[in-house]
Symmetry: C2
Amino acid sequence: MAKKAVVLLSGGLDSAVTLFLAVRQGYECFAISFDYGQRHKKEIVRAKHMALLAKAHFKVVGLKFPWKGSSLTDKKLALPANRTAREIKSRGIPSTYVPARNSVFLSVAASYAEAIGASKIFIGAHSEDSSGYPDCRIGYLKKFAEAIRLGTKRGVEGKLSVEFPLIEKTKGGIIKLGASLGVPFEFTRSCYSAGAKPCGECDSCILRAKGFKDVGVKDPAIG
Amino acid sequence: MAKKAVVLLSGGLDSAVTLFLAVRQGYECFAISFDYGQRHKKEIVRAKHMALLAKAHFKVVGLKFPWKGSSLTDKKLALPANRTAREIKSRGIPSTYVPARNSVFLSVAASYAEAIGASKIFIGAHSEDSSGYPDCRIGYLKKFAEAIRLGTKRGVEGKLSVEFPLIEKTKGGIIKLGASLGVPFEFTRSCYSAGAKPCGECDSCILRAKGFKDVGVKDPAIG
């Protein structure tokens, strides 16, 4: 029987590559997405689609926090727009940072992993060519992984660990890996906005475009 | 202006003492409780009452996970009953362990702390005279605190930390501290069951009774 893995799946490119990697590594994958009041709620549909294509199980967990604090969840705040990749990298933590998001997501994933007897939790975080979120850095993820190892039943038993296989890759490197795994990039959606088509202006669109350009591949996204 | 603290508040004794301690230390306290499908949902009412008595702000966060895995959230599983404190301590992680509960609670607290600009998160976890939950041990809490320091905006800025002031105290020691702070123990509720009166048989009732006995104080709980 295949070992089980919980995979955080957002509908974007990085987590799709992570899911296909986990499947390739032989895990029976249980993907979870979160409905946390994000503007770009349509990413959840994309996540479900991707999970089906990867032959993974899929669940949406609703998290209704009674506070805001991010331009990704508060439409009254403007999204950063038309920044170059260099500006995104150099200007610190942007307004799209969602307070403690990955800690919440990983904790819920750990709870799910305990409930179903999974041995891995996969997260597609990376810090190169990213938006400078503190919860996407390797130092944080290593500490969090240790906390899960010490603070869960399966962790204490040596049966559960957190994996972040993309952490040191560039966006281009992630795209190359995804291509080699057959990830259907056309169904991924990275844009932070709620529009029918990706805006092409938000940090996430900019970094995605740079990634494809860096490796000389045309982005096949359909919207 | 007083510095702000987020305090995890369950309606039980330990978190009430922690809240009164944080208030005594001069923090403007923002207490949060979780509605996570626990049997003893009435603890939330007790938590609200305690927050009012401590002159703290209060919020309930709903967390509806689409899985179970604990006798505290699944009424089809039996609660451990009539175990001695020694048995509770020696028999490993009990069925009342809720998978990754403190990781989820602390992560949500970190999100809240970021949103309101708090500088501390208080949790009343302790491992002496406790139920052997891995997420109440000092090693775990230290790692988790480091993860929050590295993985949140305020943490990175050196403005947010996690405090667990009861961690090395016995239940009796916590009761003594609470008495010195004027905690109204009569309004706390520790029992895991949903009954009108504490059952007196669950691990939590047993450990509470032992704590009061150890320090020679009568438990004033009213139900």
